[in-house]
């Protein structure tokens, strides 16, 4: 076993030697530098392994010079210390490698020496068991850091170093004062001694004074708000490697000391200190970053926020009033947070070094240039933002669920901060992933390795924590998710990826076959798997444009949806929900939309965090356990689902996300993914609200659904982009489904579930057809199409049937949903909602005609003269999807019978009161409708009329497309004749005021308001060293005054 002193000694010695060797043999200096770091890493690794394997049961205590502790200096290395050392040296090692790849800063000898000293100092801070020794190491660290920062050849580095130095000196002074008082009071400097024996002897006021002195010194180093201005300057100005080491590792060492020292303080004082400083730092960091345009400073804000979170967690961790189980969980969360943050930040700062220019806009296109860059960036950002499957996600979940109920405001705070984090990180992500591909610099080894560490840790972390939290994640689904990611490896050939995906999906269906039971999850599982499979077939044609990540992401979406519906606890639902959200985020981001994916990310994150908050409030995590008193959890959990359904007023992401996402993905997004919201709402209504209770809330949901339907329909009418029109239409239809669910009657649920499936058929068909059309025509702008029926008869026919079904016109399948819904509404007696629903579905005819006319009818534009029918796979899927429309139109019972079974499996619901009797349709108490008769009647009389017409008609000549009675003129071009632009302009005159973009403006106002606040808050950091110093002193005094208890 390695003696920890060796690490320090060797490092110190080699730092000394490098200084000398530098003058004579530069190469040897470098070799020794790197060898030292390797040795340190190995040595600390061995120690840590010793602890892990149980070989070392107790902390190693090293007595330097053989003196016993109170007199001699003492190193105390436990599990945590060893782990911290490993962390420090890995970051240092990665940074060093980065330096070697990129070229060492000049003068390189001094840089290497200072770098070694910095890592050594940080390790020393971690290891030491002696207060004065701690001060010494802090000084070593600080001085090395000043030197390194000052020697960085970047703009503002010198100034930053100076600020750092001034503030750091004040902090050191505080610590030194504290140590002096401590020695005076106890006569010892050894931590163990003080903690063990001597504390009882001194008055609590003095002890508090001492601790607060030390703590406020440390708080400066821990960059709490508002005394962290210097840190931001350092992060912005210094060499990225140095910053990585500082932010990634050195600060964590301070944090460890903070944890160790904090125990001396009376609990309540420390607890509120940690909460106040942690919380404010966290929020301030997250929100101030919104306005930040300099990327490295943005990362700085993020680091500060993470430290704030850690301090907050420390407050709970050290609170002995909490159950030991929760404290254990918080401890685990802290470990995860540190690990996660260190490597992610290292990776991000080193990546920032590879990008020319410091602004956010300079990152444009960097993700497209280099897959390694993209990988590192994506995984780091996902880690930091706490997105599953990364470790950061578990850290957040653990932390939240360990916090007891009376501190639920802390949970809210954490969630709000996490949301704010999503906003700015994904803004950066959006910028980086769009625009022209830009080759980022080649120094990607270190960032890649550190993000690889993050990714590699995922299975382990999941393995440990899902068990620890007792979340039974469905193993089969996890396996399938793993396989899906493997599809990425087939990236060299899209057809192969396609085939592989199909095979995977088939395998998935085979594996999950036992779950196809007649209950709610089985119902939705069938929709997800079969629907996803069918739509997968149609993804083939766009292979040229598809990124290689498309198929893995697609499969992950599908299987995570399967995970969602198969979840037995709310938390596992949440996990899969997040996986689904973020994989779909990637897919949406593949499209052309500038802000689409970002908006989607923000809204989804907001919904998801609200859901997490709601789950936190639930008494039991299991789905299906009784009702919950109070509406709050239900409302919070529903928010996530409402976001996914894009219910007004949460809809503003939908238009662009649907409209701009990858064409091959939109059918899935609209057809199935929005239905996950339905599934979730159904769960909420059945299991949390109770089907027959909370009528007011359900009435409110009903209005939400019907108003969504109404307004989205109206917006669709005036939309001129094919996919965006369909997007609004999709959202509106889901509004009907929500309405049915909100009804809470068997008939309403029948309507909803029927419409869920049916909406999948026709909307997926429409989106698939749209994808095919856009692929052929090259635009999705409606006025530029027209007359395509002459080129795409099959697609026209399919679209026509889908539209008839969408409009709910008998005899096709769409009508059944409408009929059931209205019957349910009238039966329930929601009169006003009924009227609005009717009106909305009438308005739907307007855009239905718009789709058919603008795309297929009217004049064929010249530039589309040589357009061909959609590709074969798309045509195949079209046929596949239109058959059910006809079959269900004649035999709706094929679907209604399974739905009855589903309904009888749910508590509080029973099969819908429909009698089938002799009619092939449905009879309720209210009315009746005979589907088969209508179909037969329609088909029969249509055929008769057609035959009669064909026999008796005049001689019919088929004329060309410009042969119209046009006031005797000869039309010059199809474009002159085609009525495409402003199709409903006259209608807009009548009802245009209804679509005033109020909601968008409100959301925008909120966003800009927060931005303005952040801008105001950011003014605290004047950039002036005097101010910073004054802040530090003032804050320390306030801390002493408030928390010491000395009056």
């Amino acid at each position: 076993m390695v003696n920890p002193i060796v690490i320090i000694g060797i490092t110190l010695a080699s730092a000394f030697f490098i200084g000398i060797l530098q003058a004579y043999a530069k190469v040897w200096a470098r070799v020794i530098f790197i060898l030292t770091l390797v040795f340190d890493l190995l040595a600390s690794g061995i120690v840590f392994y010793g602890f892990l394997s149980g070989e070392l049961a107790r902390p190693i205590s090293v007595k330097i010079g053989g003196f016993p502790p109170p007199i001699g200096i003492n190193l105390l290395v436990g599990k945590a210390e060893a782990a911290m050392a490993v962390l420090i040296f890995s970051v240092a090692f990665l940074g060093a490698i980065h330096w070697f790849v990129k070229g060492l800063p000049q003068p390189e000898g001094k840089a290497m020496v200072l770098f070694l000293l910095l890592s050594l100092g940080a390790t020393g801070i971690t290891f030491t068991g002696d207060f004065f020794n701690l001060f010494v190491f802090i000084e070593i660290t600080s001085i090395a850091a000043y030197g390194l920062v000052a020697s960085s050849r970047t703009k503002g580095a010198l100034e930053a170093a100076f600020k750092y130095m001034v503030v750091g000196s004040i902090s050191s002074t505080f610590i030194l004062l504290g140590v002096v008082f401590l020695y005076k009071a106890t006569g010892s400097l050894n931590m163990m001694d003080i903690a063990g024996k001597l504390l009882g002897g001194i008055s609590s006021a003095v002890l508090a004074l001492i601790t607060l002195l030390i703590l406020s010194g440390l708080l400066v180093e821990l960059e709490v708000f508002p005394i962290n201005g210097w840190a931001l300057d350092v992060y912005q100005g210094a060499d990225p490697v140095v910053v990585a080491l500082l932010a990634g590792a050195a600060v964590k060492a301070f944090y460890l000391v903070f944890l160790k020292t904090a125990g001396f303080l009376p609990l309540s004082s420390f607890f509120s200190l940690a909460l106040i400083f942690g919380g404010s730092t966290y929020l301030a960091g997250q929100f101030f970053a919104w306005r930040q345009r300099d990327v490295r400073r943005l990362f700085g804000y993020s680091s500060v926020a993470q430290l704030g979170l850690l301090i907050l967690a420390a407050g709970f961790f050290l609170n002995s009033a909490l159950a030991s189980q929760s404290r254990l969980m918080i401890g685990a969360a802290i470990v995860l947070l540190i690990f996660n943050h260190s490597f992610a930040k290292t990776s991000l700062f080193l990546l920032a070094d590879n990008v020319k220019g410091s602004n956010v806009e300079d990152w444009a296109g960097t993700l497209r240039g280099n897959p390694l860059f993209a990988f590192s960036f994506t995984s780091s950002v996902f880690s930091i933002a706490g997105i599953p499957p990364m470790a950061g996600f578990w850290a957040k979940v653990l932390l939240i669920f360990a916090i007891p109920r009376q501190y639920s405001w802390a949970v809210a705070l954490i969630l709000i901060g996490a949301l704010a984090e999503v906003v700015y990180y994904f803004h950066l992500y959006r910028v980086a992933s769009q625009g022209e591909g830009k080759e980022a610099g080649g120094n990607l080894f270190s960032p890649f390795v550190s993000s690889l560490l993050l990714v590699v840790s995922v299975p382990m972390v999941w393995g440990i924590f899902s068990r620890k939290l007792s979340i039974p994640l469905n193993g089969q689904v996890l396996l399938l998710l793993g396989i899906s990611l493997g599809i990425y490896l087939l990236g060299f050939s899209r057809p192969l990826q396609w085939l592989g995906s199909l095979a995977t999906l088939g395998y998935g269906i085979y594996v999950l076959l036992p779950h196809f039971k007649p209950d709610l999850s089985g119902f939705f599982l069938a929709l997800v798997l079969f629907g996803g499979g069918a739509l997968l077939i149609a993804t083939y044609p766009g292979s040229k444009k598809l990124p290689s990540t498309f198929y893995p992401a697609y499969l992950v979406v599908v299987f995570s949806m399967a995970g969602v519906v198969l979840s037995s606890t709310w938390l596992s639902l949440f996990v899969f929900w997040e996986v689904m959200t973020w994989s779909s985020f990637l897919l949406i981001n593949m499209g052309e939309g500038k802000k689409a994916a970002w908006l989607y990310a923000i809204f989804s994150a907001a919904g998801a965090y609200a859901m997490l908050g709601g789950i936190y409030l639930l008494p039991s995590l299991r789905i299906g356990v009784g009702k919950v008193p109070g509406l709050l959890p239900a409302v919070l959990i529903s928010l996530a689902f409402l976001v996914k359904m894009a219910t007004a007023p949460l809809h503003i992401w939908a238009r662009d996300a649907y409209g701009e996402s990858a064409h091959q993905f939109t059918p899935l997004l609209s057809g199935i993914m929005s239905k996950m919201g339905v599934f979730g709402t159904a769960l909420v209504v059945v299991y949390i609200l109770g089907v027959s209770s909370n009528p007011v809330f359900r009435y409110f949901l009903g209005w939400l659904g019907v108003l969504t339907a109404f307004f989205m329909t109206l917006l669709a009418v005036f939309q001129d982009d094919l996919k965006k029109l369909l997007a609004y239409s999709s959202v509106a239809q889901v509004g009907y489904i929500l309405l049915g669910v909100a009804l809470g009657t068997p008939l309403g649920w029948s309507a909803s579930l029927y419409h869920t499936v049916n909406h999948f058929f026709f909307k997926a068909l429409l989106f698939v057809a749209a994808a095919g059309i856009i692929y052929r025509v090259g635009t999705s702008y409606l006025p530029q199409m027209g007359g395509l029926i002459r080129r795409m008869p099959l697609t026209f026919f399919a679209t026509l049937l889908a539209i008839i079904s969408l409009a709910g016109i008998p005899p096709l399948s769409g009508f059944a949903g409408k009929w059931l819904l209205y019957s349910a509404l009238i039966e329930k007696g929601w009169i006003f909602i009924t009227v609005v629903a009717f009106l909305a579905s009438t308005l739907a005819f307007l855009y239905c005609f718009k789709i058919l006319h603008s795309v297929f009818l009217g004049q064929l534009q010249e530039e589309n003269f040589n357009v061909k029918e959609v590709p074969l796979t798309v045509a195949l899927v079209e046929v596949l999807l239109l058959l059910p429309l006809i079959i269900l139109g004649a035999f709706p019972r094929l679907l209604l019978d399974p739905i009855d079974k589903v309904l009888s499996s749910l508590p509080g619901l029973s099969p819908a009161p429909i009698h089938y009797g002799r009619v092939m349709g449905a009879v309720t108490k209210l009315g009746h409708w005979n589907a088969l008769f209508l179909m037969v009647f329609f088909a029969g009389s249509f055929l008769i009329a057609l035959v009669f017409f064909a026999i008796t008609s005049a001689r019919i000549r088929k004329v060309g497309q410009l042969d119209v009675g046009y006031s005797g003129e000869v039309p010059r071009s199809a474009e002159d004749l085609h009525f495409g632009y402003g199709l409903y302009e006259h209608f807009r005159k009548a009802v245009g005021w209804l679509i005033y973009p109020l909601v968008t403006k409100v959301w925008k106002g909120i966003y800009e308001g927060i931005n303005a606040l952040a801008e105001m808050g950011r003014r605290i950091y004047t950039g002036d060293v005097n101010t910073y110093a004054a802040y530090v002193i003032a804050l320390s005094i306030i801390i002493l005054y408030i928390f010491s208890g000395v009056k």
Binding site: E862, F865, A954, R955, R957, K958, V959, G960, Q961, L962, D963, G965, S967, G968, E969, V970, S973, A974
Partner: protein, 191 residues
């Protein structure tokens, strides 16, 4: 511009006129004359009183329609210039058979007061088959009604067959038309 598919470039078929229902057909056609509301010359001002309350052509079963596709009767209401003739030909050919032409006033007959004009045509029947001529400059609505009455009789007795003549002698008509329309920028067959 690729004209392919834009216009039907195909000669009209020769139509037979007869069948079991011929009597009923003629009877019905005579009593249901739909007039394309296309004012070619000054005479169209006379058509408004003809069709409204004062003279009420509707009692003869006549109606104005706004599209040549649904019309049976094309009224050439006065002088025709070369420029108008082009449009008239197109409108006439876009009407569905059986179809009739009524020429109003002196100008279509012999040029009328514009006989020496550089752009008014002198004889309409060189270019289109005229079923009924109504003289006058301009004819009063009473005369127009009388003309329609005459047209009805002609149809009823099966003698209004200008549309057949036009198809049969299309080459001759085309030759005349092309003689004065130098730059034939129309599709050959305007169906």
């Amino acid at each position: 511009m690729d004209k392919k598919n834009y216009f039907l470039d195909e000669k009209p078929e020769k139509l037979t006129y007869g069948g079991v229902f011929r009597k009923i057909d003629d009877w019905a056609r005579a009593r249901s004359l739909w007039v394309v509301a296309y004012g070619t010359g000054c005479g169209s001002i006379e058509l408004r009183p003809t069709f409204t309350s004062r003279f009420d052509a509707e009692r003869l079963g006549m109606r104005m329609v706004g599209t040549p596709r649904q019309a049976d009767v094309l009224i050439i209401s006065g002088y025709l210039t070369v420029k108008t003739l082009k449009r008239v030909i197109r409108v006439y050919e876009q009407m569905q058979s059986p179809k009739y032409v009524v020429a109003l006033g002196a100008c279509p007959i012999n040029g009328g007061m514009y006989y020496d004009s550089y752009n008014a045509i002198n004889q309409l029947d060189l270019y289109l088959p005229v079923d009924v001529w109504i003289t006058g400059c301009m004819p009063r609505p009473e005369a127009i009604l009388a003309g329609f009455k005459r047209l009805q009789e002609l149809i009823d007795s099966g003698r209004a067959d200008g549309w057949k003549k036009y198809i049969e002698n299309l080459d001759w008509y085309r030759e005349n038309q092309r003689k004065i329309i130098k730059n034939w920028k129309m599709p050959n067959y305007n169906w």
